[in-house]
């Protein structure tokens, strides 16, 4: 039958198999590596901070644009409050709090009950 292999051949074959992973898997591994490297040093938030700042999520930009947004938000909140309170008064009675307390104080962790 004539096929002869030694342990090096097996290693070579496995290497060829490892280098032929699907691109989806290779991407997944790459993403996993990047995620792990993020945790190498506890803090290195400079990029993140720069990004957030640039996009106006943190930092102080009292621009005209944001003032309009804030006003919009305030009006929105007011509408929602009025609407919400009336909804609250008409809301159907749902009380699982006894059961929830039992779950939240049970010996088993909550995730055991969650799909």
């Amino acid at each position: 039958m004539g096929i002869k292999l030694n342990l090096d051949d097996i290693s070579r074959l496995l290497n060829s198999s490892a280098s032929n992973l699907s691109s989806k898997t290779a991407d997944g591994l790459h993403a996993a590596r990047c995620a792990a490297l993020q945790h190498h040093q506890a803090e290195q938030p400079t990029h993140v901070k720069a990004w957030l700042n640039e996009h106006g999520i943190i930092g102080h930009h009292a621009s005209h644009h944001h003032k309009t947004l804030n006003w919009g938000l305030a009006v929105l909140l007011a509408i929602v409050l009025v609407g919400g309170i009336s909804y609250w008064q008409n809301a159907p009675e749902v009380d699982h709090s006894e059961l929830d307390i039992a779950i939240l104080t049970d010996d088993l962790p909550v995730h055991m009950y969650v799909d």
Binding site: M1, G2, I3, K4, L5, N6, L7, D8, I10, S11, L13, L14, N15, S16, S17, A18, S19, L21, T25, A26, G28, L29, H30, A31, A32, R33, A35, A36, L37, Q38, H39, H40, Q41, M112
Partner: protein
């Protein structure tokens, strides 16, 4: 103290092999990927400051533990599911029995024809299936020694056992592999050049 580049290089060099290790053990692509990601995270978080020379041994130890954790979780999960399945007998049609899956996975029934002129890919799948059917510890010792190129002491450290048991695992694995391959008309010789 190793640099970020060293860690990055190390992870890049090992990620594909690590994935194969996990795949041989759990036989599920998504789970294998999760396991590798988990192991990488743990290495970076807990041992990122170790000298780069220790990475292979440390990483493989973490990988082994992560794979074991996966099996433990699966065990708990499947007994948990079967517990609930007894309450949902009325939905028998859509019932999921974790044991079905487990049994299925235990018997890889891929039919491969013996053939003198095996393509490399066929050869590879024969070898991979033979590896998967080895007991976990034997397979690990074999792969770490002969594929990842760790020496006996490093393999023992990675597996958390004595060098003696590494040798035993390796020798049993090689014998079992040779036996399986022989049935496919393949001659496995011991010495590596």
């Amino acid at each position: 103290m190793s640099s970020r580049e060293q860690l990055s290089d190390f992870l890049a060099s090992i990620e594909r092999r690590a994935y194969k290790h996990a795949m041989f053990a759990v036989r599920d692509e998504a789970a294998a990927l999760d396991i590798v990601q988990d192991a990488m995270l743990k290495l970076a978080e807990r041992y990122g400051d170790k000298p780069a020379a220790e990475f292979p041994m440390l990483f493989h130890r973490i990988l082994q533990n992560t794979i074991m954790d996966h099996f433990r979780r699966q065990k708990v999960r499947s007994s948990w599911l079967s517990l609930f399945s007894s309450f949902t007998q009325q939905h028998a049609d859509e019932e999921f029995d974790p044991l079905d899956v487990l049994e299925d996975e235990d018997s890889p029934s891929h039919a491969i024809q013996p053939d003198a002129n095996l393509q490399q890919s066929q050869l590879l799948s024969i070898i991979e299936i033979a590896l998967m059917s080895l007991p976990t510890r034997q397979r690990e010792a074999f792969l770490l020694r002969y594929w990842d190129g760790l020496d006996t002491a490093e393999t023992a450290a990675a597996m958390g056992c004595s060098e003696g048991s590494v040798k035993t695992h390796c020798s049993r694995a090689t014998h079992a592999l040779a036996e399986t391959l022989k049935q496919k008309g393949i001659d496995l010789s011991w010495e590596s050049n």
